[in-house]
C-alpha cells in the first residue's frame, strides 16, 4: 500500500521512522501541518503554529502505528484534526466540526507566495500612522477593548473606535492593491 504515497510523503515517512531527520525537515513538516490548519480553520482564529507543533510531535511519536493503508499526510491530518478538535472543545465549547468537511490537502500556495503575503501584511501595517498602528495592534493582536485602548493611549473611546475602523480599512485597501 505504501506505493500509493507521494514521493515527498514517502521520504518524510522514511525519515520519521528511521529517526534520521534534521531541523530543516522537521520545520517543513510543521509548516505543512500549520498550512492545513490555517486553510481549514481560518474562521477559528487559532494559534496554528503551536497546534501544528503538537500534531507533528504526536505523529512522530506514533509513526510506528501508521500501517500505510492511507496516504501518510492523510493520517497526519486525522491527528491534526483531533488536536484542533480537542483544542476547540477546551477553549471554544459548542463548536461542531467533522473531519469529512475538511480539505484534503492545503491549496497549493507555495512558500514564496506565502512569504510574499506575509511581506504585504507587514507593509500594510507600516502604511498606517503611528496611532492607527498602535490601536490596530492593541485591538487585534492583544484583544484589548476600546476602553482599555483609550486608557493606554490617552484618547477617547470613540477616537479608538474610529481609528480602529480606519486602520482596518486602510489595510484592506492596501492589500487589495498589493496582494500577489
Amino acid at each position: 500500500m505504501e506505493g500509493n504515497q507521494d514521493d515527498s510523503d514517502l521520504g518524510l515517512l522514511a525519515q520519521l521512522r528511521s529517526d534520521t531527520f534534521d531541523l530543516a525537515t522537521w520545520d517543513r513538516f510543521v509548516r505543512r501541518i500549520e498550512r492545513w490548519i490555517d486553510q481549514n480553520f481560518e474562521w477559528a482564529n487559532l494559534d496554528s503554529a503551536n497546534l501544528a507543533g503538537e500534531a507533528a510531535l504526536i505523529a512522530y511519536q506514533n509513526v510506528g502505528q501508521f500501517r500505510g493503508d492511507s496516504r501518510f499526510f492523510r493520517w497526519v491530518r486525522t491527528i491534526t484534526f483531533r488536536v484542533v478538535y480537542r483544542h476547540l472543545q477546551k477553549n471554544k465549547p459548542g463548536i461542531v466540526i467533522t473531519f469529512d468537511d475538511l480539505m484534503e490537502e492545503p491549496a497549493g500556495e507555495d512558500e514564496s507566495v506565502m512569504a510574499w503575503k506575509r511581506l504585504v501584511a507587514e507593509e500594510a501595517l507600516q502604511n498606517l500612522t503611528e496611532q492607527e498602528r498602535q490601536v490596530f495592534i492593541l485591538r487585534k493582536q492583544d484583544g484589548m477593548d476600546h476602553r482599555e485602548i483609550a486608557a493606554r493611549l490617552e484618547i477617547s473611546e470613540n477616537a479608538s473606535r474610529l481609528t480602529w475602523t480606519r486602520a482596518a480599512e486602510k489595510i484592506g485597501r492596501f492589500v487589495q492593491d498589493n496582494d500577489p
Binding site: D27, V30, I58, A168, E169, G172
Partner: protein, 403 residues
Amino acid sequence: MSRDEELRASALLDEYVKGAVRGQPIAVQALLERCPRSQRDRLQLACGGVDYMVHHLYSEQEREEVVQRTFQQIQEMRRKRQALADAEARELTYDAVPSDRPGDYLAAILGMASEQLHQNPPALGGSTVNTWHRGGHSGDEWRIAEAKVQVVEQVIADQAEDLLMRALINSPPVDVYAVARHLCLFVKETPLRNVDGCLVVHGDVGGILISKHITNSQRKRFTCAHEIGHFIRHRHLRNYFTDEMSHWGSLLYTETEQEADTFAAMLLLPPTFLPAKFGQEKPTWEQADHLVETFDVSLTAAIRRMIRASHWRCALMVAKDGHLEYSVRSPELDAYDRRGARVHETTASAHLNYAEAGEEAMIELPAKAWLEGPLLDEEDVWVREDSRRLQNGYVYSLLTVIE
C-alpha cells in the same frame, strides 16, 4: 457621512472580529446589511483587512520557536526511549533481587540504587475521600470538599483525554498497556505479596509491576491505569508507589490514592467515548453491564464512574457479610452513609446476604434505612434500591432517590 454612522460601522467590525475569535464567524454580507449605506464599502474593506492580517501577519519568530522547541522535545523523547530500552534489556528475575520489596526489583531494572527510592508512608485520614460518613465533616465543610473533588475530577478527566489523544487511542476498550508504553513505562507481572501494583519512577521513565496473583484481567487493567495515574499526577512528590486496591474506602485511602483511582476511571472510561447523555439517565444494572462489556472494566469501576457522573441523587452501597464496607455517592446526593454499620434488615441488600451469586432484588424504601444527613430533612424521602449479589460475596446496591 455622520460620526454616528462611522461608529456604527466600527461596532459592526468589532462584532465581526469577536465572532472570529469565538469561532462563530459572521458572514460579511450579513453585517453589510445592518451597516449604514455610506459605510458599507469601508466596512467591507476593513473586514477584508482584518482577515488578511489574521492569516498572514504572524510572527515568524514565534513559529521558529515552536519548531525549535518541538525538535528539542524529540531529542528528549529519543533519550527516554533509549533509557526504556536499556531498562528492558536488563533481564532480571524477581528472585534475583535479595529483598522482597517490589520497589527494589524495579529500581534494579531501572539501574538505580534502592536508597534512591522515596516512598512516603500512607497518611491516615484527613482526606477529602473520607467525607461521606457520619462525623466526617460538618455540612458546609462537606460541600466545600465535594466541590474540590469535582474540580479535581474535571482536571483529571482533561489530563486523561489529552493522554489518550497523544497516544492515538480513539475508541474503547482503552489499551492501558499502550498508554504506559507511550509514557515510557514498562509493565511486568510478578508474584507480589500483599501488593496489587507498584510504580517506580527514574527520571522520565519508569516501571510498573502488577501482581501475578490478580486473576481478573479487568482488575489488572485498572491497577495499571492507577499506577499511570500516580505517574502523571504524583511523580513530583515521590518516586515509589505501592498499592493495594482493597484499601478503597479505608483510612489508608489517601487523597493521592483517590486521585490515582479517579485517573484510572477517567482513562478507562473517558468522557469522549461515553454516550452523549451519560449521567442524565438513572443508573441501572443494565447500563453498568454495558459499560463493563464495552470498556473492559470491572463492575466496580463502571458503577463508580456512572455514579460520579450522574445528575441524579444516587449512590452505590457495598456490603459484605451484612455490613456496609464503603459507598460512592453522586455529587447531587446530600447525605451520609453508615460505614461499618450493619445493613438494615428491611433492605434488599440484607435479603441478598444469604442469596446465590448473581441474584438481584429491587425494593423501594424510606431513605433513612440507608442514609443520614441533610437529605433526611426533606419530608418523607424514599429511595429505590437495586441490589445484586456478586461472586465474591459482596452485595452491591444502587440507590436512587425517588424524586
